[in-house]
């Protein structure tokens, strides 16, 4: 019985969202300039964040998996912290680091006039910060389960570390890479707390879909529901993309 309660608890809100969606007005709402702007901004920032996470996070996952650096255990814990941190706290932390008066941001602003908060770049930074750990821990698991002998064999065959990584390591961990990238992207697309704290909520500049939903909730509830519906569809899409991982039954 408690199991069924849990099931209902998880499913009813989703049903409510579908039921309450103003389907007649739906096409009009989501094709409004504000909604399209938010959608475009969300797609761009989440994809850029995922690309950055891949570019830097995958090599870091490899370093953690191969225990190349000293204090790997401590480093892994540090990487996972943003995963557990309330996103709003991540936003505050980013402000203190990269804000105009931040630890690093102060220097960047004073020297180069560069500023991140309340810019689209700021959105990318906030989402990358929050989403990258998902990719890192998934990939680290993938790298760990890959026996080092394949990389060793490739090295003895004359392949430099770059070639080994691109031709042997990455293809062999492709399933983990796909899972990690999708999880990372889904997390980036849904990012709210760190973004609103670090980058603010400016339509067309930093107002991504989740922020648009939050804003609409105070003015026009049906718009908020319609935009939420879009994000729900994306989430279901992610689930389908990862079906091999989560929809498996014992029979398969």
């Amino acid at each position: 019985m408690p199991g069924l309660v849990a099931l209902l608890f998880l499913v009813i809100p989703l049903i409510a969202l579908i039921v309450q969606t103003p389907w007649e007005a739906f096409p009009k709402i989501i094709s409004s300039p504000e909604a399209l702007e938010a959608l475009r901004l969300s797609l761009v920032t989440s994809l850029v964040a995922t690309a950055l996470a891949a570019l830097f996070g995958i090599p870091m996952a490899w370093l953690l998996a191969r225990e190349v650096l000293p204090f790997t255990g401590l480093l892994r814990a540090l990487v996972i912290v943003p995963l557990l941190l309330p996103p709003v706290v991540s936003g505050v932390a980013l402000l203190e680091a990269l804000g105009r008066r931040g630890l690093v941001g102060g220097f960047l602003y004073d020297t180069f006039g560069i500023t991140f908060p309340f810019t689209t770049v700021g959105v990318v930074i906030a989402t990358t910060f929050v989403a990258m750990p998902f990719l890192v821990i998934t990939m680290e698991g993938g790298f760990r389960s890959l026996h080092q002998r394949y990389e060793d064999a490739a090295a003895t065959l004359g392949a430099g570390s770059r070639r080994v990584f691109l031709r042997i390591t990455m293809p062999m961990v492709a399933p983990a890479a796909i899972a990690g990238l999708v999880l990372c992207w889904a997390r980036a697309l849904g990012e709210f707390g760190a973004t609103i704290t670090f980058a603010g909520n400016f339509p067309g500049v930093t107002q991504t879909m989740p922020l648009a939903v939050y804003t609409a909730l105070e003015s026009d509830r049906s718009v908020a529901i319609a935009l939420s519906m879009v994000l729900l569809v994306v989430s279901v899409g992610v689930l389908v993309a990862l079906r091999g991982k989560y929809l498996q039954t014992r029979a398969s």
């Binding site: 394949y150 060793d152 065959l157 430099g160």
Partner: protein, 350 residues
């Protein structure tokens, strides 16, 4: 290409210390029990693991020299056949073999041609398009060898090349492997725990026990004069330690043996083959100079004979036929007389 290896490497509490030369055109077996450090020797020579002191020289290239020289695996001219082959599962057999030449910067066309000729020389042309999980163990062994040879290395390293195969496949692959490594003009080093592989494939055997080389020599030298209990056990002979003086060996742990080497003095080892040991129920009176008493400790049936372990001073192993066993009615604990003619014993300085 000659390899001069004089190094030591330490991993937690295990210390490996090697000082030997691997000559060009020679097949060397590194023979040792599990945990003796055999595989580490290969990893170090391949550059996959560093050294903590000493140096390794390939021909005239210093590949390792503490504290600063460590030539990376991809910069060494080595081919490695890993114990479980480590074929890349996402690449076809052909792509596996062409990976090395491609890594060396050869064109795709040249690399594939090279892979093709390797496949041909190993008689497995038809496997080119299969994935590693679609071929048998024996075939995988050949592909691994072909892949290692495709970069035309001057050193070929093989880690337990036959250990992963079942007994039947082993015979045919061993014959095949023998042909391949005989045709290879570089330096071949393989590690094994199987004395038969070492005897059949190697020109020279380096025995490794607990991280140090305990004996080196040709297979026949090892068989004739084992210097450690491990080698003696592998060769199936009795190895008796003691101090020799004028044809008499005072055995360590008790007993005396008459040996034919009358000029030998000081610490010595004596080899006594189990088939040269005669067993008697009553004290024998004959020409055998060596006669001593003991009791049967264990009886082990082999396919055409019985191995009898005898508790005595010195303890020995004898092999007898099934009919001899029936006549003597031996069982564990039976008191027994042992004899061995002096001339069947070979003693040498330790």
């Amino acid at each position: 290409m000659k390899i001069t290896a004089n190094f030591s490497t330490i991993r937690s509490d295990f210390r490996l210390k090697i000082d030997t030369i691997f000559s060009a055109g020679t097949v060397t077996a590194v023979l040792g029990p599990n945990g003796s450090g055999k595989s580490t020797v290969l990893r170090v020579l391949a550059g996959l693991q560093g050294i903590d002191s000493g140096e390794i020289v390939f021909g005239d290239q210093v590949v390792n020299k503490t504290p600063s020289v460590h030539v990376a695996p991809q910069e060494r001219s080595v081919g490695v056949v890993f114990q479980d082959y480590a074929l890349f599962p996402h690449l076809s057999v052909m792509e596996n073999i062409a990976f090395g030449p491609r890594s060396l910067g050869l064109s795709k066309k040249v690399s594939q041609a090279r892979a093709q000729s390797q496949l041909k020389s190993l008689g497995i042309t038809e496997l080119g398009h299969r994935k590693p999980n679609q071929i048998s163990g024996g075939q995988a062994q050949r592909v691994a060898l072909a892949r290692a040879l495709a970069t035309e290395p001057s050193v070929l390293l093989l880690d337990e090349p036959l250990a992963a195969l079942d007994a039947q496949t082993k015979e045919s692959v061993r014959t095949e492997l023998e042909k391949q490594i005989d045709g290879f003009d570089g330096c071949v080093i393989f590690v094994t725990h199987d004395p038969l592989d070492a005897m059949l494939l190697a020109d020279r055997v380096v025995v490794l026990e607990d991280g140090t080389i305990t004996q080196e020599g040709t297979p026949s030298e090892l068989a004739a004069r084992p210097e450690t209990d491990y080698v003696a056990t592998l060769m199936g002979v009795n190895l008796i330690r003691g101090v020799a003086n004028q044809g008499v060996l005072q055995v360590e742990g008790g007993g005396v043996l008459s040996v034919p080497q009358v000029d030998l003095r000081g610490e010595a080892l004596a080899v006594l083959r189990p088939e040269s040991v005669t067993l008697h129920l009553l004290r024998p009176e004959g020409s055998a100079r060596n006669v001593w008493q003991g009791s049967v400790r264990a009886l082990t049936p082999m396919h055409d004979r019985i191995r009898v372990s005898i508790d005595a001073s010195p303890p020995v192993i004898a092999t007898i036929t099934h009919s001899a066993l029936a006549d003597l009615k031996l069982s564990v604990g039976t008191p027994i007389w042992v004899s061995a003619k002096t001339l069947t014993i070979e003693a040498f300085a330790k």
